[in-house]
């Protein structure tokens, strides 16, 4: 019950106090509210008593002011406009006082309301507001006094009473003002304290937030440590293993307690002295970085890169160390591989005589040497360093002035991203000019160009080329001379031969009677030898003509041609020649095909000793070529002579027995091989021979036009 009343009271006196209200008004408003409550009760009480006692005017005024004040409280309670409500209340009190001055009130006690006014003014509005309200009150009363002298109104109090009242009011005001001032100061102190309190609480909040942040960070760090691929461990200064992450476990396969049982972290190092040294460092609180070999639980070893850092507390004393191991065994392997590969590369470079370079062209096209092989010293006689530092040394000083234009073209090509090969001269340190071939391959990357180049000394090649060229010229000349020689042979050797032949014959005829039988035989022998010589010359001519004549490739019906050759040879009756099947149409020089067939068949006829000679001609197709076979049942050839029969002027039989120049098969071989074919011989002495020659299937006929021209067309 008591608490409820207290609550209601508290609620009442706090009327109008929104949360945003300045704390400085808190006490004033509570005070004003309490005062209003007391005033309302008093006014309603006096008003009722005066109404009953018949003093209706004053009673009504009391009730009206009390009602007004209730209204004021209601406004305050619901509108929260503190100043407005306060001003209404204060204004109302002012009007009541002035009204009582005019009316006098019951037994003139109404005047005492005036003594509330300084309290209300100063307490509610502060020092300045209080003075203003007091000013208004004094001016109003003095105004009324002046009005009463002018007989406009009549006052209930006389001038003396008014002065008395105003003087005592002045004294009271001074007192209230003093208290209000004290109160205000007090409030300021409280307010300052409050402010301090608020600041403190803010600081505390900030600290809390920072602590939270630190905690979050710690969490993140611990997660990073846990998930790090590096093995991380925390060791105590006495060598106890305190913590490690997953990567550490994966690397060493130890648990925390397992490692401590094993003897602590110092046991992890393959080299016991290293373990001891590191333990010393940890004890000292020092840091260490380096590569060290560590041992796993299964005694296998791993090369690691280890970083040790001391952990210190806030006071700065060491409380442990953090160990970070990075497995570098793979990297080590790569490094070793790289070193050996680079070593190999250097050896290769050193072993070749060519000079190798690598030039970078920036996106602006400025060249810099990225690599220059040491061979450049051998090539140029200048020290290696001169080239590495200055790209232009080669381009502007070494290259022969006449060849610089060509070299510049090459550089332009490189800049365009094109591979390029140029031959130019360079002037060596000893003043000698040598020819080099500079070939570069271009690689483009992000707008930059790298040229990988080889410079070879081609002076020797150039010399060889010159020799080759002069040899070629000589050969051409020799060939020309040979052709002329053949012509000379045909004329100048044959003419006297024919003369000898004719003269011998005429001798025989004209001196028939003077010659005996022996003389006649000698003349016949002379004629025979002359004829043989003629045949030899003809053979040489035919053979040499082969090399000079330009073949005319066309479609050749080899069946028809072979048949015509046989007709032309008109074989003797005891020789039977058969073409086994239809021979194919081939692309060949017609005359030369005839020559082959004529030589082979005529040989087969000539060297046949059988009563019933048999010659077979056939052809079979193999992959990519035709193979012709000319076989006979004649004398046959011993295998040791197979090679010899294809050589010029080689005959196996006495020329007196078989008249032969020994040139036919040489011509056949030359023709067959000219067209990319082969000729082979299989034979058994006494039983016959078989010649096989091939004709490639991919020979091309000559264009139609040239064929027409040969036929005498346009």
């Amino acid at each position: 019950m008591v608490t409820q009343i207290k609550n209601i009271w508290n609620d009442f006196v706090s009327s109008g106090l929104g949360e945003e209200v300045d704390r400085i008004y808190l006490r004033r408003i509570k005070f004003a509210n309490a005062l209003s409550f007391w005033g309302i009760l008093t006014l309603l009480g006096f008003g009722t008593v005066r109404m009953i006692s018949g003093d209706h005017l004053i009673g009504l005024a009391d009730l009206a002011v009390g009602g007004f004040m209730i209204l004021n409280l209601i406004v305050l309670r619901f509108s929260k406009k503190v100043m407005l409500a306060s001003s209404l209340g204060t204004g109302c009190l002012l009007i009541l006082i002035l009204f009582l001055f005019i009316t006098g009130g019951a037994d003139r006690t109404g005047i005492y309301w005036i003594y509330f006014f300084p309290v209300v003014s100063f307490f509610l509005y502060g020092i300045r507001g209080g003075f203003i309200w007091m000013g208004i009150l004094y001016i109003s009363i003095l105004g009324l006094q002046v009005a009463s002298w002018g007989r406009v109104i009549s006052l209930a109090y006389d001038f003396g009473t008014t002065i008395q009242v105003l003087a005592s009011l002045l004294m009271e005001s001074a007192l209230v003002c003093y208290y209000a001032k004290v109160m205000e100061n007090e409030e300021k102190v409280v307010e300052a304290n409050n402010l301090k309190l608020r600041e403190t609480s803010q600081i505390m909040q900030n600290e809390m937030a920072q602590r939270q942040k630190a905690e979050d960070e710690l969490l993140r760090i611990s997660q990073a440590v846990r998930s790090s691929s590096d093995a991380i461990a925390i060791e105590d200064i006495d060598g106890t293993h305190l913590y490690h992450n997953k990567a550490f476990y994966n690397l060493f396969n130890f648990s925390v307690s397992g490692l401590n049982a094993y003897g602590g972290f110092a046991q992890l190092f393959s080299d016991p002295t290293a373990g001891k040294t590191i333990q010393e460092i940890v004890k000292r609180g020092g840091s260490w970085t380096g590569e060290v070999e560590v041992r796993r639980k299964d005694s296998s070893t791993v090369q690691t890169y280890l970083r040790i850092n001391a952990i210190k507390d806030h006071a700065g004393s060491t409380i442990g160390s953090v160990f970070i191991y990075t497995d570098v065994s793979e990297k080590k392997k790569w490094e070793n591989a790289l070193v050996s590969s680079e070593e190999r590369f250097r050896k290769v470079i050193a072993s070749i005589s060519d000079h190798i370079y690598m030039t970078n062209y920036s996106s602006e096209g400025i060249p810099t040497n990225a690599y220059v092989s040491p061979n450049v010293e051998k090539l140029t006689g200048y020290p290696h360093s001169r080239f590495l530092e200055d790209w232009g040394f080669w381009a502007n000083d070494l290259i022969h002035p006449e060849d610089r234009a060509a070299a510049r073209v090459q550089v332009e090509n490189f800049k365009k991203g094109w591979d390029s090969q140029v031959e130019y001269r360079i002037t060596r340190n000893d003043g000698e000019s040598i020819w080099v071939r500079d070939s570069g391959r271009v690689e483009k990357q992000n707008g930059n160009i790298t040229v990988y180049g080889v410079v070879s000394d081609i002076s020797a090649n150039k010399y060889q080329e010159e020799i080759k060229e002069s040899l070629l010229q000589e050969l051409k000349k020799a060939n020309r001379e040979l052709a002329e020689f053949a012509y000379i042979v045909s004329h100048d050797l044959k003419a006297p031969l024919r003369a000898i032949s004719s003269l011998a014959q005429w001798l025989g005829e004209d001196y028939k009677d003077a010659l005996d039988k022996e003389g006649q035989e000698k003349i016949d022998l002379l004629l025979g030898r002359a004829k043989r010589m003629h045949n030899l010359i003809e053979g040489v001519l035919a053979y040499s003509r082969l090399g000079r004549m330009k073949p005319t490739m066309s479609r050749v019906d080899s069946h028809e041609e072979t048949r015509q050759v046989i007709d032309l040879l008109s074989p003797p009756g005891h020789i039977k020649i058969s073409i086994a099947e239809k021979l194919p149409v081939i692309i060949y020089d017609r005359i030369q095909f005839n020559q082959i067939m004529q030589n082979l068949i005529s040989n087969a006829i000539k060297y046949n000793d059988k009563d019933c000679g048999q010659i077979n001609i056939s052809c079979r197709q193999s992959e990519g070529y035709w193979e012709y076979l000319v076989s006979d049942n004649g004398l046959g050839i011993e295998e040791q002579h197979f090679d010899r029969i294809f050589k010029i002027f080689q005959s196996l039989k006495s020329r007196d027995e078989f008249e032969s120049t020994g040139i036919g098969l040489t011509i056949v071989k030359k023709i067959v091989e000219y067209y990319g074919g082969t000729i082979k011989l299989a034979s058994q002495p006494g039983r016959g021979s078989e010649f096989r020659f091939t004709v490639p299937g991919n020979l091309q006929p000559e264009p139609e036009e040239s064929g027409k021209q040969l036929l005498g067309g346009q």
């Binding site: 003419a495 004719s502 003269l503 003629h534």
Partner: protein, 143 residues
């Protein structure tokens, strides 16, 4: 040959000349055979210059037998000059040579020769060749 017209043999080889003379004899060819040693002499003969002034000793030939390979002026050179001459080009000229060279044959025919005979090695065959030659030029009209 027709009407015993004179024949001019242009050849430098003594045996070749003998061969022709002998073949004429064997074939009973009675046409007068005049002989000059090379193209230059042949041109002089035909123009009746110098020692060939007497038309009785050096009559204008109806047929010329021409060797190709000769000193001073060879057969081809002679043909080029003779065939460019309005008068001389009418005379039938028959090449009688040992050359089997394609070039010689083609060039000779380009220069409008009346025939191209390769001298056979055997005398019998040469006799036969001259016989056929005689027959042909007995049959054929002359300009």
């Amino acid at each position: 040959m027709r009407d015993n017209i004179p024949v001019l043999l242009v050849d430098d080889d003594q045996v070749d000349i003998m061969t022709v003379q002998r073949a004429f004899k064997v074939n009973n060819i009675s046409n007068p055979l005049n002989i000059v040693g090379n193209g230059r002499e042949a041109l002089d003969y035909l123009k009746q210059d110098g020692k060939y002034k007497n038309p009785k000793i050096s009559p204008r030939p109806g047929i010329i037998l021409l060797d190709l390979n000769m000193p001073i002026m060879n057969g081809i050179e002679f043909l080029k000059i003779a065939k460019a001459n309005k008068e001389l080009k009418k005379i039938p000229m028959i090449v009688l040579t040992t050359s089997k060279e394609e070039n010689d044959r083609v060039e000779s025919f380009n220069l409008s020769v009346a025939g191209y005979i390769i001298k056979p090695v055997e005398f019998e065959k040469f006799v036969e060749a001259v016989r056929v030659l005689n027959l042909y030029w007995t049959l054929s009209e002359l300009p």
